[in-house]
C-alpha cells in the first residue's frame, strides 16, 4: 500500500542544485575536488527582527562545537558583520567552512542570493505567523525555496505545534508550499539569561540536529563571505 502523507509534512523533491552537487561529489571525484572551494553551504535565516540575531549566533557556536565549523554573516546590512566560530587551529584554506549562516531581516536580500532553502524565525503570535505567511508568499513568488520554521517564544511545545500547524496548513492551502518544522525556542529562554543557558543550549542543539539531519542548506557558488586575515 502506498502511504499518503499530508504534503505539509513531506520534504520537497531534491532541487537541481543539490543534484548537481551530489553528482559532482560522487560521480566525478576529480572535478569535485577541483571545484570544492567554489561552493558554500549556506543556511539562510530570515529573522523577524534584528533582536533575534542571538539565535543565529548561538546556533553557529553549537554547530561549530558539534564539529561543523560555521561562519556567521549578516549580508545586506549597513556594516556587514562576519564572525567565524572556528578555533584558530582549525583555520584552513578558504572554502573549507562547512556552513555559512546567513542572517537577514529582509526577504529582498535572500531573493538577491537566489537561495533554495530558508529558515524563518517566527514569533509565536497570530501577528507573527501572519507576517511569516506574507514573507513566505513573497519568497514563493520568486522561486519557491524550501522553508523551515523555528517558532520563537511559545509557552510550550503544544503551543508551538498549534502555531506551526496554523501556518503550515495556510501555506499549503493557499500557496502550495509545504513547511518543515525545525523546532521551537520557548518563551522562558532568551539572550543574557545565564540561568537558562543550558536549557537554551538544549533547544538550539535540537534545532541544529534537525538542520543537519535534513540537509537543510543552500549551495551557493562563490558567495562565501570574505575572511579576515
Amino acid at each position: 500500500m502506498v502511504s499518503r502523507l499530508n504534503p505539509a509534512w513531506q520534504r520537497k523533491s531534491t532541487s537541481s542544485s543539490r543534484l548537481a552537487e551530489i553528482s559532482a561529489r560522487f560521480l566525478g571525484t576529480t572535478q569535485a575536488a577541483t571545484h570544492r572551494d567554489d561552493f558554500c553551504r549556506a543556511i539562510p535565516f530570515l529573522l523577524d527582527t534584528p533582536a533575534q540575531h542571538w539565535i543565529t549566533d548561538e546556533l553557529g557556536q553549537i554547530l561549530t562545537q558539534r564539529g561543523h565549523p560555521c561562519t556567521l554573516c549578516h549580508p545586506g546590512e549597513a556594516n556587514p558583520m562576519e564572525h567565524s566560530f572556528r578555533q584558530a587551529q582549525a583555520a584552513e584554506a578558504p572554502g573549507s567552512d562547512e556552513y555559512c549562516l546567513l542572517a537577514v531581516t529582509c526577504p529582498a536580500t535572500l531573493l538577491k542570493y537566489g537561495v533554495d532553502h530558508v529558515v524563518l524565525l517566527v514569533p509565536a503570535s497570530l501577528d507573527g505567523i501572519r507576517d511569516a505567511y506574507q514573507r513566505i508568499k513573497l519568497l514563493s513568488q520568486h522561486g519557491a525555496p524550501d522553508v523551515g520554521i523555528v517558532l520563537v517564544g511559545p509557552r510550550d511545545q503544544h503551543a508551538a505545534w498549534r502555531y506551526f500547524r496554523k501556518l503550515a496548513v495556510g501555506t499549503l492551502r493557499y500557496l502550495d508550499v509545504p513547511l518543515l518544522n525545525l523546532g521551537f525556542l520557548p518563551e522562558q529562554i532568551g539572550p543574557g539569561q545565564d540561568a537558562e543557558a543550558s536549557h537554551r543550549h538544549n533547544f538550539l542543539a535540537r534545532i541544529s540536529e534537525r538542520l543537519l539531519h535534513s540537509g537543510f542548506y543552500s549551495t551557493l557558488t562563490m558567495t562565501t563571505p570574505r575572511r579576515n586575515a
Partner: protein, 188 residues
C-alpha cells in the same frame, strides 16, 4: 520622577474629540491645520488639512469601530461632492482641490476594513488606547496600515510586476492577503 502608568476608562465622544484634536499632527503629520473640530455630519468628524493641502476627515468612535468606518466613508463621499465649496471656505486648502483623505480612529480594527483598505489608498486606520500617566490622561495611537509605498502622484499609475523587482522588495512591501487568507489568519 516615577511614572505611574495605568489604563484609563473608555472616554466619551467629546473627551476623545478633544484628545484627537490635540494629537492632530500625529494623525496627518507636521504642518497640519485644524479646519473643523465638529462637522455636522454623521459621527461629527474632525476636518483637517495636511501639509500637502489634502482635506482630511477624521472619523472616530469611542466604542463602535464599524460605525467609525461607515460614518467616515459616508463623510468622504459628502466631502468629495462639496470639494469646491470646502476649498472656497477654508483658506488653508489654498483652492488646490486636492482629493480628500480619510482617517478612522477606533478601539479595534473595524470588521471588513482590510478589503476597504486595499481599495482606498487614502484611508488610514488607527487604533487608540487611553492611559493615565501620573494622573494625566494620555492618548496612544497605533497606525494599523502602513502608509502607501508610492507617492500620491503615482497612485493611479499601473503597478510594476513584483517579479521584476526582487531587489527592491523590502520588509515593508509584502504581498497583500486575499480575503480568504485574511479570514484564515483572523484566529488561531
Amino acid at each position: 520622577m516615577k511614572l505611574k502608568i495605568e489604563s484609563a476608562e473608555t472616554p466619551d465622544r467629546e473627551q476623545l474629540r478633544s484628545l484627537l484634536t490635540e494629537a492632530a499632527e500625529q494623525l496627518t503629520g507636521t504642518g497640519t491645520n485644524i479646519l473643523e473640530t465638529r462637522l455636522r455630519w454623521d459621527g461629527q468628524p474632525l476636518l483637517l488639512a495636511d501639509a500637502n493641502l489634502h482635506p482630511v476627515l477624521v472619523s472616530f468612535e469611542p466604542e463602535h469601530s464599524e460605525a467609525a468606518l461607515l460614518n467616515g466613508l459616508r463623510g468622504v463621499e459628502q466631502l468629495c461632492n462639496a470639494l469646491p465649496w470646502i476649498n472656497q471656505v477654508y483658506e488653508p486648502l489654498q483652492q488646490q482641490q486636492q482629493p480628500p483623505k480619510l482617517v478612522v480612529v477606533a478601539r479595534e480594527f473595524p470588521p471588513g476594513a482590510s478589503a476597504v483598505l486595499r481599495l482606498c489608498p487614502g484611508l488610514s486606520l488607527y487604533r487608540y488606547r487611553l492611559f493615565s500617566v501620573n494622573g494625566e490622561i494620555a492618548l496612544w495611537l497605533e497606525h494599523l496600515n502602513p502608509p502607501p509605498a508610492m507617492p500620491a502622484a503615482q497612485e493611479s499609475a499601473p503597478r510594476q510586476d513584483a517579479a521584476a523587482l526582487p531587489q527592491e522588495a523590502s520588509n515593508d512591501i509584502l504581498p497583500p492577503l486575499s480575503d480568504a487568507e485574511s479570514a484564515y489568519f483572523q484566529q488561531l
